[in-house]
Subunit: 160 residues, 2 copies
């Protein structure tokens, strides 16, 4: 955690940006919520707990900066809000998401899975891929089980 922060600090410096207290507080929040998919507003509220003087604009600016440096990725699950997702250190590709249309939960897939597809696309479409976004919409394990229970219950009631 502290190591990661140190490395991010170096990354900022090597692009001649400073790790100000506001930026550090924002990065810390992102590191502490690595598996969540926070909106700028979410990040703002969480940073405010530790650093109440911070302004919303600064959070936006920091998130833009981190996106530019590929430390985070901006994702949009179709609800009109940008969300910010910490990139796994060293991983070249952006990870994928499973969005449940029932409960709204978001699961991450760190495995690449797209190597073959990207090879085909580069060859057949002569398109030089630098990044990708892959999201599956569907029903998560938890909601599938809930639905099964519900069905069972209904068939019981119906047969009485």
């Amino acid at each position: 955690m502290e190591n990661r922060l140190e490395r991010i600090k170096k990354q900022l410096h090597s692009s001649s940006y400073k790790l100000t207290p506001q930026r550090e507080a924002t990065v810390r929040v992102l590191l502490e919520h690595a598996s969540d998919h926070l909106s700028a507003e979410d990040v703002y509220l969480l940073v405010k707990e530790k650093y109440p003087e911070i302004g919303l604009a600064t959070v936006y600016r920091t998130l833009d900066l981190l996106t530019e440096l590929k430390i985070v990725d901006r994702v949009n699950f179709g609800d009109g809000v940008s969300r910010y997702d910490l990139r796994i250190e060293g991983s070249q590709h952006f990870h994928h998401h499973l969005v449940c249309i029932e409960c709204g939960s978001v699961e991450e897939i760190q495995e690449d899975l797209l190597e073959d597809v990207e090879m085909i696309v580069e060859r057949r479409w002569h398109f030089q891929i630098t990044d990708h976004r892959l999201t599956f919409h569907g029903i998560c394990k938890h909601c599938q089980e809930k639905q099964k229970r519900q069905k069972k219950k209904n068939s019981n009631t119906a047969s009485v």
Copy 2:
């Protein structure tokens, strides 16, 4: 084209919606620009050419309706604007996109390509997939060639 419109009309009716003149004009614009990726504003301006009385809110409402009926898909390429993309008739899966980071052009891939990946995801993550979004960002064929020419030119100049 007219056939497609007829079938869309039936699709609306079977969900007890009407194909009003405004909706028809909007659908026509979408059919005429099937390979584009129009924003609501784009659609509004194009519909206005043929049907000047139409209001922006009606266009938004129609696009929502068509999205609900899976006649169009809402996509977001990260510029904060929703774009509307006609779904190929009968195709079960939503097509993919190649977005050029140089010129902003958007190319479509109609081939599925994800069958294997989806099988893996359904098995390993126990996630029941109903839809997907796949976008590749990179450099299109055209811009790659432009870059090559540029390099050549530069090395010529440098050697003089």
